[in-house]
C-alpha cells in the first residue's frame, strides 16, 4: 500500500533513478572494455574507468596480431552464405508442407520436428570427422554447409504460409499461376517480415558461433571472428588490453547491425514465444 500513497512525482523519480542505476550496471562491462581498448598497454592499470591516454595503437595492434581483418571477411562471407541459404531452404520446405499434398507429408514433417530436439553440441564429434573426410577443414564449405538448412526456419515460415487465405492460392490458380509462380509472386512477398526476422536471426547465430569454428578452423587464415578472438586471447594471455581491443573490434559490427535492425530482431527472438 505504501507505493500507492506515495506522491506520483516521487514514484516517477524513483523509477528513473532505478533505471539509471541499472543502465550503469548493464553497461559497466562494455564501458570498461572500451576504456581498456583505448589505452596503451603500459597504462592499463591507470584510471581503468576513465578514457585517459586515448590511443588507437592497441586496437591497431590487436587487428594485426589477431589477423582480425581476415577473420571479419571470413565471418561475413560465411554468415551471408548461411543466411541466404537458410531463408531459401526454409521457404522451399515450408511451401511443400503448407501447400503441397504428397504421400508421407506428416511423417516427413515429424522428421523435421525431431531434428529440433537434437542439440548441435551433441553432433559436433561426428560432424567434425564428416567435414574432415570431405576435405573441408579450413574452408568456407566446412564453416557454412552444416547450417544451410534449419527446421526452425521451416516451421517459422510454414506458420506464416498457413495463415495465407486458401482463396488467395485459388485466385492465383485462376489467374494462371503454378506453384512456383505463386511462391514467387504471392507467398514470399507476403512472408517478407518473417523472412527478414529469420535472416537476421540466422546471420546473428552464425556470426556468434563458437564451438564449430574453433573445432574445424585449425589454420589462422580460416578463423571467424569468434575463433580468431579465441586465438588472440590464448596467444596474448599476458596482454589483457590487447585482447580486450580485439573484443571491441569483433563486437562493434554486430552492435551496429542490431541497432539498425532492432525490430526484426525482436520479431525473430519472440517467434517461438508467440506460439506459447
Amino acid at each position: 500500500m505504501a507505493t500507492s500513497t506515495m506522491p506520483r512525482g516521487w514514484r516517477l523519480a524513483g523509477r528513473y533513478t532505478l533505471l539509471i542505476v541499472l543502465t550503469i550496471v548493464v553497461l559497466f562491462p562494455i564501458w570498461v572494455m572500451l576504456v581498456g581498448a583505448l589505452k596503451p598497454g603500459n597504462k592499463v592499470l591507470q584510471d581503468p574507468l576513465l578514457p585517459t591516454h586515448v590511443t588507437f595503437d592497441t586496437l591497431r595492434e590487436a587487428w594485426r596480431d589477431g589477423n582480425l581483418g581476415r577473420a571479419l571477411v571470413n565471418s561475413t562471407i560465411v554468415a551471408l552464405i548461411v543466411t541466404v541459404a537458410q531463408v531459401v531452404t526454409a521457404v522451399l520446405s515450408a511451401y511443400a508442407f503448407a501447400f503441397l499434398r504428397f504421400p508421407g507429408r506428416t511423417f516427413v514433417f515429424g522428421v523435421f520436428l525431431a531434428t529440433l530436439l537434437v542439440p548441435f553440441e551433441a553432433t559436433v564429434v561426428v560432424n567434425r570427422s564428416t567435414v574432415q573426410d570431405l576435405g573441408w577443414l579450413n574452408s568456407y564449405q566446412g564453416l557454412a554447409v552444416p547450417f544451410l538448412a534449419t527446421a526452425f526456419g521451416t516451421f517459422l515460415v510454414r506458420q506464416v504460409f498457413l495463415t495465407l487465405p486458401k482463396d488467395l492460392r485459388e485466385a492465383a490458380r485462376m489467374d494462371g499461376l503454378g506453384h512456383l509462380g505463386f511462391l514467387r509472386e504471392v507467398a514470399v512477398p507476403l512472408a517478407r517480415p518473417t523472412l527478414g526476422a529469420l535472416a537476421l536471426f540466422g546471420f546473428l547465430s552464425t556470426w556468434n558461433q563458437y564451438l564449430w569454428p574453433t573445432t574445424i578452423s585449425t589454420d589462422d587464415d580460416w578463423n571467424t571472428v569468434q575463433s580468431g578472438l579465441r586465438a588472440l586471447a590464448q596467444a596474448q594471455i599476458d596482454k589483457p588490453n590487447l585482447v580486450i581491443a580485439g573484443t571491441v573490434i569483433v563486437a562493434l559490427p554486430i552492435f551496429v547491425i542490431l541497432l539498425v535492425f532492432q525490430r526484426q530482431l525482436v520479431r525473430g527472438l519472440t517467434a517461438g514465444a508467440v506460439k506459447g
Binding site: A114, S129, Q226, F255
Partner: protein
C-alpha cells in the same frame, strides 16, 4: 479410371515436393540425423587410451560413462550452472522489462540499453568479464579484493562457477529482456485497468495480472535459457578452461575441451555427447508437457 485419376492426384505434387524438400532433407540428414545415429554407434565402442583401435564390445560403455566420476561431476557442474543462471536471469529480465514498460519519456533509450547484451557473442561477453575479473588488471577484482585478488574469482575452486554464471547471466540478459518485453506488450491494457478499478496496488497488479499473463512467455524464455545453459561451452573454454580442478568442467567441456581427459577418445566423447542429448531430450519433453498444460492458462 476414377481410381487412376485419384492416385494421379495424390502423387501429382510429389515430384515438386521432393525437389523443394531435398535441400533441407540433405542438410538435416547429413548434419543432424546421421551424426546423432553415428554418435550413438560410436559411443558403445571402446578405444584404447590413445584413441585408436576402437572396437565394439557390448553396449555397457554407456553405463560405465554414466557411472563414472568424471561424468557425474560434469553433470553436477552443468546442472548447478543452469540453476545458478536461469532463475536469476529470468527474474532480472522480468524486473528490467517491467521497469521499462511504461510509456514514459526516455523508455526507448532504456530499452535499447537493456537489449544491448544480445549483440555480444559468447566470446565477446566472456573476454569482457575475463578482463573485469582478471586479478592483475581487473576493476572488479580490485574492488572486491580478497579471493578476487588472490588467486582470482576464476582461479578459485569455490567461486569459479559463480563467476562464469555471472558472465552468462549478463550475456543472456538482452535476450530475456526482449522476449519478456514483447510478452508484456501482448497483455491487454483493459486487464490492468480493471485491476486498477478494483483497487489493486501496483504489487498486486504485478502478481495477479502481469505474472500469470506472462506464464507462456516465461516458460518459453526458461526453455531457451535452460537449454542454452546445458549447451554452454565458450564461457568455460575462455574463462576457466574447465578448471580449477574440474570445478567448471561442464558436459560440453568434457567432450570438446582442450584440457579434457577424454580429448582423444572418440568413443567416450560420443558416449558423453549422446548422454548430453538424452538429458536435453528429457528436459525438452518435460517442457513441452509444461507448455501444453500452461497454454489455456495464458489465454
Amino acid at each position: 479410371m476414377t481410381r487412376d485419376a485419384a492416385s494421379r492426384r495424390r502423387w501429382r505434387d510429389a515430384p515438386l515436393a521432393l525437389a523443394m524438400l531435398a535441400p533441407s532433407l540433405i542438410v538435416l540428414g547429413a548434419f543432424v540425423l546421421y551424426p546423432l545415429a553415428r554418435a550413438f554407434w560410436l559411443g558403445h565402442q571402446r578405444c584404447d587410451p590413445t584413441g585408436a583401435n576402437c572396437r565394439s564390445n557390448g553396449w555397457d560403455q554407456y553405463l560405465d560413462v554414466f557411472r563414472s566420476e568424471e561424468f557425474q561431476q560434469a553433470f553436477g557442474v552443468t546442472f548447478r550452472f543452469a540453476v545458478l543462471t536461469v532463475p536469476v536471469g529470468l527474474a532480472l529480465g522480468v524486473g528490467l522489462a517491467v521497469l521499462a514498460d511504461k510509456q514514459l519519456r526516455g523508455m526507448g533509450f532504456f530499452r535499447t540499453v537493456f537489449s544491448s547484451t544480445v549483440a555480444t557473442s559468447v566470446a565477446v561477453a566472456s573476454l569482457m568479464w575475463f578482463f573485469l575479473l582478471n586479478p592483475s588488471v581487473g576493476v572488479l577484482a580490485d574492488w572486491i579484493g580478497g579471493v578476487a585478488k588472490n588467486p582470482g574469482l576464476l582461479q578459485d575452486e569455490d567461486t569459479a562457477l559463480w563467476a562464469v554464471a555471472i558472465s552468462s547471466i549478463w550475456a543472456n540478459l538482452g535476450f530475456t529482456f526482449i522476449v519478456v518485453t514483447a510478452g508484456l506488450q501482448s497483455i491487454p491494457a483493459d486487464l490492468y485497468e480493471s485491476a486498477y478499478v478494483d483497487g489493486a496496488s501496483g504489487w498486486m497488479r504485478f502478481t495477479n495480472v502481469t505474472l500469470p499473463m506472462l506464464g507462456p512467455t516465461l516458460l518459453f524464455a526458461g526453455v531457451v535459457l535452460t537449454s542454452r545453459a546445458f549447451q554452454s561451452y565458450g564461457e568455460f573454454d575462455l574463462l576457466t578452461g574447465g578448471g580449477p580442478n574440474g570445478s567448471t568442467t561442464s558436459l560440453t567441456y568434457l567432450v570438446y575441451g582442450n584440457n579434457s581427459i577424454i580429448k582423444n577418445n572418440s568413443g567416450l566423447q560420443a558416449a558423453v555427447a549422446v548422454l548430453l542429448f538424452a538429458v536435453l531430450l528429457v528436459l525438452s519433453l518435460a517442457q513441452i508437457r509444461g507448455v501444453e498444460r500452461r497454454v489455456h492458462y495464458g489465454n
